[in-house]
């Protein structure tokens, strides 16, 4: 994941290696980036197998197209832009891909926290918590957190498509806001709205999980 990327040589060196057919450079990138690419592709297509096809096609396009890399973005961003384009083509076949130009009702409407969690106009403190969110298990409760992590893939899979793509790139893969905007061709504002909604959903699902498993400490 992002920790692996930190150890890579600078882009100039990587690009030289790819253009010159240096096997160790290609192996290094293939191993460092394929896991994140697979997870990102999975947000566009219907199965892990289809996502693996997208990743393979992307690397083939990189092998053949590296001479066209002009250095206007980072190498990683350039590779991911290819990935997203290929994933969209496959996603259309899976009829799962939506237009990115505008946010849908799913993505920008309504509050991210159930309004009934807050006091109404006739209560003493309108707009304030009726009851604070329950505390979560401490990070030392390793079993609880491991189980919680185990369900997150399913939570991500349930998110609206664009929210899933953005939270995967930002929070799972550790890309910056600028990189994500550049990979997906969206504005910083839209990116933030999608991230905000996605994080709120994941938080709520963790909250539900901890409260039903009796782990919440009030």
């Amino acid at each position: 994941m992002s920790t692996a990327a930190a150890a890579l040589p600078p882009d100039a060196e990587l690009v030289l290696g790819l253009r010159g057919g240096v096997q160790s450079t290609f192996t290094l990138l293939l191993d460092a980036w394929s896991p994140g690419m697979l997870r990102t592709a999975r947000a566009y297509v219907a199965s892990t197998e289809a996502a693996e096809d997208v990743v393979q096609e992307t690397w083939l396009a990189v092998i053949r197209g590296i001479d066209g890399f002009a250095g206007r973005s980072s190498l990683r961003t350039w590779v991911y832009r290819i990935l997203v384009n290929i994933a969209k083509t496959h996603g259309v076949k899976d009829s799962r891909t939506l237009a990115w130009s505008a946010l849908t009702g799913d993505d920008d409407a309504g509050s991210t926290v159930d309004p009934s969690r807050f006091q109404g106009p006739d209560e003493p403190y309108p707009g304030h918590w009726r009851r604070f969110p329950d505390a979560w298990p401490s990070p030392e409760s390793e079993v609880m957190w491991r189980e919680a992590r185990g369900m997150i893939d399913a939570v991500l899979a349930d998110l609206p498509h664009r929210q899933r793509v953005v939270i995967t790139l930002r929070d799972v893969e550790g890309y910056t806001s600028d990189e994500v905007c550049s990979i997906l061709d969206i504005t910083a504002g839209n990116q933030r709205i999608l991230l905000h909604r996605a994080r709120a959903v994941v938080r709520r699902r963790l909250e539900e999980y901890f409260s039903t498993s009796g782990a919440g400490v009030r």
Binding site: G21, T27, Q56, W129, F132, I167, A188, A200, R203, E207
Partner: protein, 75 residues
């Protein structure tokens, strides 16, 4: 600031994109509301948990095919 307004500003707060006046109101609210401090903390935990997900990669077969493709292309 009300709590239901605060919860919609947490991401912009964490991203550092709020204007100065709103950022000040967010910080002031945090200082006096334990419920919202906890909410923000849980959002942070959520982000950390996402960063910690186990990575899966492509199959060994696919990896080998790609290594061959690179070698063949430069032959």
């Amino acid at each position: 600031m009300n709590c239901n307004e605060f919860v919609e500003l947490v991401t912009a707060h964490l991203e550092g994109t709020l204007d100065d006046a709103t950022e000040r109101r967010v910080v002031e609210h945090l200082a006096e509301c334990d419920g919202c401090a906890r909410y923000l903390d849980q959002i942070r935990h959520t982000v950390h948990t996402l960063a910690d997900l186990p990575a899966e990669s492509i199959s060994g077969q696919a990896r080998d095919r790609l290594l061959d493709a690179f070698r063949d292309f430069h032959r």
